[in-house]
Every structure is written in structure tokens, then in C-alpha cells.
Amino acid sequence: MDNSKEITRVLFENFQPQAIHLFYAIGYLAIAVFTYGVYVQIRKYRRGKPDGSWNELFHRFVDMVKTMATHRTLVRRDKSAGRAHGLIFLGFVLLFIGTSTITLEYDILEPLFGVKFWYGNFYLLFSLVLDLAGLGLIVGLIYMMYRRKWLHLPKLDYKRVDRQEGDPDFDRSQYRREDWAFLWSFILIGITGFILEATRLVWLNDRPEVWDYRMWSPVGALLAQIMQTFGMVSESAGAFRPYLWWFHGLLSLTFIACIPYTKIKHIFTAATSLMFKDPLAGRRLPKVPDDQKTAGYKTITDLTWKNLLHLDACTKCGRCQEACPANAVGAPLSPRDVILSLREFANHALSAKELPKEAELNIHGKDVGQVFMETLWSCRTCLACVEICPVAVEHVPIIVQMRRNLVEAGEMEPLLEKTLQTIHKTGNSFGESKRKRAAWAKELPFEIKDARKEPVDVLWFVGDYASFDPRNQKVTQSFAKLMHHAGVNFGLLFEAELNAGNDVRRVGEEGLYELLASSNIGTLQACDFASIVTTDPHSFNTIRNEYPDFGGKFEIEHYTTLVKRLIETGQVKLKKKLDYRVTFHDPCHLGRYNKGYDAPREVIKLLGCELVEMARNRDNSFCCGAGGGRIWIPDPVGIEKPSANRMKEAGQIEGLQVFVVSCPKDLTMFEDALKTSGFEGQFVVRELIELIDECIEYEVWEDTAVTA
């Protein structure tokens, strides 16, 4: 290396002053166009409703930098694309820093203070790093092109499932064209950059301070070698260079000017979207402010600025669509399409100087950019989309907000409407008398305490399905026996317990949810207990994550963690081991919603079972189809049910004996699906509690033993 000042790069050598001025003028123009675009975007976001996500900005920023630096969310479930993006990202960042470094010296430090640092060793290292960055960028872009052209990934097909062929926005081909324009212009900038570098080397090959150090820009040096082999000499290179220089320069400036108007803006929107990520998105739905007249989202301006920002962050990668259970069975829903529709709508309606009339802001309907009611009602609120989105788009909260508006307008399935009325009237979705809620307990050989009348350690919130569904009542009784056997001091709320409201809220009936939640909170607060346990992941989620917003802060756990502890501490003694080959289905509300992946698996292993995972497990678990109130809406005839789809997946496991669930709704859904999908007799569906039960009280409950 050599630290002499001569070792640096020529910038405007041989340029006429007018040419330099012209270049600067174009540069400023590009910056102006860019700035205006950014202004229009920010004006658009400011037309959204306020959002309180401004807290802990520093913490959010650090998290965002970590996520971006590791590309953690991008390599998930698509390693190659994630890594290729990593190369592009790193290349872009380094090249951007590199160019800024030159600007810093040439336009700021040198003219103002006479400071120079871009020479010698620093320059050589700079040159090497940027060469490698450029190479990485091109390699990454080539993979992306290959992937688009030859891999034929369904998730990159933008054809819509909620529109018909012939509808104006059916195939979204403009996105495909934009993708290719982006890839080509980006790769051309990289390639011309290298050719430019090589041309400069050939042009200046008589200057030892350039030519002798050419290997510090290896890609350029290699290209220079090739050019020379093909007969390029200093003069021809010198003559060719200005054309190339202008082409490269103008393309780059155009690229910068285009950022806020094209998908390139994801550089900023994805980053900020990640920064404003809500770790409880979907798990804790937003409250409706007391003073707000209508609930939910009717117009595009009902969305918060954060929602609008999320819309712009979407890069159409299709991971959400791939994970969506509704989409998998052919329902007219792709989370990506909902986001893109709203984005197109927002760009159309909110980018102009004046806001259009209220009526033109309605996001519900059948027109271009509007979201169909059928689409919104197809959602199971399983959070698979929110979970996998690499840029933290929060689809489910938006969908639920839109449903709130549909509910207010009464635009829902008659059966769902009936169920909501029933829940309002009786406090449960079965339409049973409140008095019958704890009827299952009458058959037990012991009395269960009434937590309203005496203090208990553990308050058991049973939930509707576990209380009223005859099949689930058996499981409920088993769990009662287990707790009794373990000597847990527990009690129930009996007829004072109401539906916890988790699914009512996800349907979008916020008023009913408020009623149920505040009633339950009032009941719970009047009781003396240390913590709550439930076998129902849905109740678990809303009590854990949403009741605090209504003043109900309680310790709550799902039974799987409690049982695991009871077994480990020896309070529950397993008298025999099971040798079943089982698989475990993560309930959405226990797994994805609350990260309760491990406890049920550890219990399964403690029981001695051999656990074989399905392909879609843990955070990629596949919804049974019952979430978001869909258990109250009949599935359309003729299309596959998500639960049947899941059965097929389980059926692929060689020698599977038990399909283990840990959620009352799962038990109902999958026992049903087992019969209809033709796997009856091959394996059985069991609640984890039933397997534990086999190990502790098999003389009483042998009738529930696995008989497959």
C-alpha cells in the first residue's frame, strides 16, 4: 500500500465546466424530485389517524437496525431470496456510503476547509470494499432475476384470488413490469459502474498511481484486462468514457429521483415499518376511543398513519399469501392483495393536493382498490401473515378494523349475526342457559370450589367450548380430575363466567366484546385468587393481552405450562408411559399469538410419546380454520376446509397414531375433519389432557384411551 496523495480517483477530469455545471444541475433536480416525492408521501401518511407508536423510539430504532443488519426476517422460510437480498442490501448500503464519502470530501470538506482524506491507503481500501460491494449487488440481482424468470414461484404470481379474470385489477401485471424495470435499472447501474471503472483504468494505464494499484479494484481490473485483450487502448477508452459516464450518472440520478414514486421506496418504508412494529399486533387489537362515533375503518382516512406506512412497506414478496390458511384452501383472500388494494387506494385518493369527497374514500365495495366483504370474512385471524411478514406489515388489525365497520352495517353472515345476538343474550355462543355452564362438573366425584365464594390459588376460566361442547366436556372433566389429583386449590366462576370475547373481538363486534370483557373483569376482580388457568388458548389470549386495556390485569397461563410444572415437581405422577407416535398441532392462539410452543411438546415427551413434527409447525402452524369467528360461519361447500388440509398433512406422517391438540376448538374442528377427509381409523385426534389422563387415572378413563 502507499499513502501518497496521488493515489486517488479522477472525478471530473477533462470535463468542460459547463458539463460539470450541467451534471450538478441534474443532480439537484433529482434531489428536488426526490424531496417532493417524499413530501407527497409524508402528506399522505399525515392524512391518516394518529397512532401512539412514538414511544421508545431509540429502542425501536435499535431493533430495526438489528433486524435489517441480520436480515433475520428475510431469510425466514426463503433462505436464498433472503441471502440474495442481503447481498443487494449490503452492496447498496456500502455503495451509498462510498458515494457519500466522495461528496463529503469533494463538495464539503475540501472546498470549505481544504481537508482531503480520500487518497492513499484509505482510497485503496475504499476501492476494494466498493468493488466487492458492487459485485455482491450484481450477484444478488442476478439471483433475483433468475428467481423471477425461472423458478415460477406461486407467491410471485400477482394474479388475484379475489378478482375474476377480466377485472381491471385482476393480474396486476403493472407490478410485474415494475419489478423488472427495477431489477434491470439497478443491475445496469452496477454493470455500467464496473465498465466505467475498467474504462478509466484502460484510459489511464500510463499513470502508475492508477494502473499499478488496479488490483485494489479487482472487478474493474479484470474487466480492463478483457477490454485490452479485445484491443481497447487508452485513446479509445478516453473517447468512450464520457458517454458511459453520463449514462451511468443519469441512470443513477433517475433511480434516486424515482425512489419515492416506485417500489424502491421500500428502502425507507420497510425500515420505518419495522421500526414501528407492534410486538402485540393482532394479539391485542386496538380499542375504539370512547368519543368515536363509528367503529372500525370505513374510509381510507380512518386508517392510522402507521397503517398507511405499513401499506407502503409491502414488497409483494408473497410470504403472507403462502402462509395464509384461507388462501391455501382457495378462499377469496390473500393478505397481500388486501394490503396492495388499500395501498393503491391510498395512493390514488390521498396523494393529490386536495382530499376527495368522503364518498370517494370508502374502502368497502366491489370497485378497483376496494376490499370485498367476502375477502374480509374469509380471514381466520390466525396471524400467519403478520408473523411471517419480513417488513412488519400488520394485516390482521386492519382486517378486523374493516370488519368492525361491516358489523356496524350488519354486513355479515346471518348465522354469525345470530351467534352474536345469542352471545349477547346468554353470554355464550351455544345459546345455553348460564346456569348450565358448569353442568359438566356435576358428574365429578368431588366438588369444585366456587371462586366467587372462597379464595383459591388457581382460578380456572373454562371458556365456551370446554364448558358446553359435549366432546370437550370430557376433556374438561379430565382436567378437573388432574388438578384435583395434583392437589391444586382451584375454583370456577360457574354461571358468572361469560364468553371471554376473544373471537367476538376478532369478528369485529367491539361493543359486545367490551360488554363481555368488562363483565368478566368485574367478576374476576371480585374473586380472591393468585392466577388464572385455562385450557382455551382463545380465552388465554384475550385475558392475557387484551383485558389489561380494560383494567383487568391478571396472571394467566395456559394449562400446558401448569401441567408441565406439576409433572416436573412430582405433583402429578405419571404411572405409565405412552409409546404413541404422535404429532402436535400448535393452536394459533397458544403458539403464534403467545409463543407457547415448548410446553406442550415437553409434556408430550414427558409422557413418553414419540413426537414427529408436521412440515408446518410452531410459528408456521396451519390454522384449523376456526379462528376469527369463522367457527360460527359455515365454510362454503365445494372448497376444502383448512382443517381437512391439515389432516392431509398429518396423514403423510408414517405410522402416526395420535394427532395431539391443546385447544377445545381444535378438537372439534379436527375430529370433524378426520372423518370427512378419510383418515378415520388411521389415527385419532386427542387433546393433550386426554393423553396425560391415560397416564394417571387409566382405570377410570380407559374409555378415552387411544384405540387406533
Binding site: 362515533k293 356496524e408 346468554t426 348460564k434 361493543g511
Partner: protein
């Protein structure tokens, strides 16, 4: 233009109910109250006329009953009714449908509506005569069991289709003002969201006493009704029997019963 919709809060039986000690009704502890199903439809029919938007239409719901009825009235207000009136006096207790009709007619005289809608019947008592007796007291024309209505706010008459037995419809032209009793299925009642019901709490429910409408205790109550409940009871079990056991056992039992019946 005003439409008066007469509604009722009806009682539904809870699981394992008990009869009151005086044997005249079910013990109130075992009753669940809700708006009469027919009234959802008659209110919706009024709302449709209001929303057709040719003339300004005021929809007023009226009910006779104690405090608890406010909850049902609020549901009507949530669905878009402009005002609600609740008539009550302890002396009204025990009134039959005809006496209730007398009260409703008195309210109508004060409100002077252009139309009165009521449900065909109530799901708990099923007299199917409240609406009709109201018309009688007002000396207005009436049509019962209306399954279709063609009427625009301000019209002098309406065309109604009445549902008769055997799938017959009778098309009737009726002069207004009139009392129509509305049948289930005439429309699709809207959903009253709970937030809507909560917000409707801000709308006033006018509490009206008997003297406000020119009546007194001598016009209402069990003593001034033309019919009274003597007894409410669960009849002795009929001959229905659930046959339990395996399919074979059930079949054997069924054959045995059939043979006994034939006297073999």
C-alpha cells in the same frame, strides 16, 4: 310524516324453569327478556320507509312495560328509531291484549302518526290481537299478517299483501292512517351492534304515565281486562318416549310398542 311502531319485550324460558307460586306465570328468575322477534321486522319496515327518503319520516317506537323494557327500546333506537316512548304504571300489570291496545291507541291519539306497525303476535303470549285492538280503539282500518308492503311516506293509501293459509296471498289496498301487523320475513332486519345500542343510550326514552295519555287505573289491569290468566302449567307428559340402547335394542323396543298399540 310519522310512523308509530308498537313493540314488546317478550320473555323466553331459561333451562329448567319453575312456575310461580300463584301458578299464573313462570317465575321471573327463569325468564330471559328480549325484543319480540316480529317487532324486529315491523321496525325494519318502518326504517325502510324512512330511508327511502322521499319525505322526512319520524319513526317512534312505543312499548308498554316496566323499566327493563328500556333495554329493548334502546335496541330499537340503535337501529335508527328517532324516539322511544314507554308507558307504565303498576296498575297496568295483568292487562290483556285488548287493554294494551287501549293504551297504545291512547298513545297514538297523542302522537297522531300516519301509520302504526305492530308485530303479528308476541312470541311469549301469542294473543295476536294487540295491534288489531289498537286499530279498533282508534277506529282505523287495519290489515293483519302483512307479508309485503308497498307504501311511500305521505301516500293516502298503501297496498299490502296478507299471508293467508295454504300459501295464498291476499292483496289489499288500505286507506291511511292504518294499523298493520307485520309478519316475519317481510324484510331482513338490520343488526343492532352493541356499540350502537350503547350510543343509543344518549337518545331519550320518554316515560309516559296513564294520566299523560288520558287514561286511568280504571282502564287497565287485570280487573279491567276482558280475559285473565287462570293458571299456567306444564301438561302431563304425553305418549312420546325416547328409546335408548343399541340399534338392535331400539328396534326390539319399537316393535314391542307397536305390538302393544295394535293390541297384539
Amino acid at each position: 310524516m310519522k310512523i308509530l311502531v308498537a313493540v314488546k319485550q317478550v320473555a323466553a324460558l331459561d333451562e329448567d324453569f319453575e312456575i310461580r307460586a300463584d301458578e299464573k306465570d313462570v317465575d321471573e328468575d327463569f325468564l330471559l327478556y328480549d325484543l319480540n322477534e316480529w317487532d324486529d321486522f315491523s321496525l325494519e319496515e318502518a326504517m325502510k320507509i324512512k330511508e327511502a327518503g322521499t319525505t322526512e319520516v319520524e319513526v317512534v317506537v312505543v312499548s308498554v312495560g316496566p323499566d327493563r323494557v328500556d333495554e329493548s327500546l334502546r335496541k330499537c333506537l340503535a337501529k335508527g328509531a328517532d324516539r322511544a316512548i314507554r308507558v307504565w304504571d303498576d296498575s297496568i300489570e295483568g292487562s290483556d291484549a285488548i287493554a294494551i291496545g287501549r293504551i297504545l291507541a291512547a298513545v297514538a291519539k297523542k302522537e297522531a302518526p300516519d301509520m302504526i306497525f305492530a308485530g303479528v303476535q308476541s312470541s311469549d303470549q301469542a294473543y295476536a290481537s294487540t295491534g288489531i285492538s289498537t286499530a279498533a280503539y282508534l277506529n282505523w282500518p287495519h290489515a293483519a299478517v302483512v307479508a309485503d308492503l308497498q307504501y311511500q311516506a305521505g301516500n293516502k293509501s298503501a297496498v299490502v299483501r296478507r299471508e293467508l293459509e295454504g300459501g295464498l296471498l291476499q292483496e289489499v289496498e288500505i286507506n291511511c292512517p292504518a294499523v298493520l301487523t307485520i309478519q316475519l320475513g317481510i324484510n331482513k332486519p338490520r343488526y343492532a351492534s352493541l356499540r350502537g345500542i350503547k350510543q343509543a343510550a344518549a337518545k331519550p326514552i320518554e316515560e309516559v304515565t296513564l294520566s299523560d295519555i288520558g287514561l286511568s287505573g280504571a282502564d287497565v289491569g287485570a280487573g279491567n281486562s276482558m280475559s285473565h290468566v287462570r293458571r299456567m302449567y306444564i301438561p302431563a307428559k304425553g305418549r312420546a318416549e325416547m328409546i335408548e340402547g343399541t340399534i338392535a335394542e331400539q328396534a326390539a323396543k319399537l316393535i314391542q310398542i307397536m305390538n302393544e298399540f295394535k293390541g297384539v
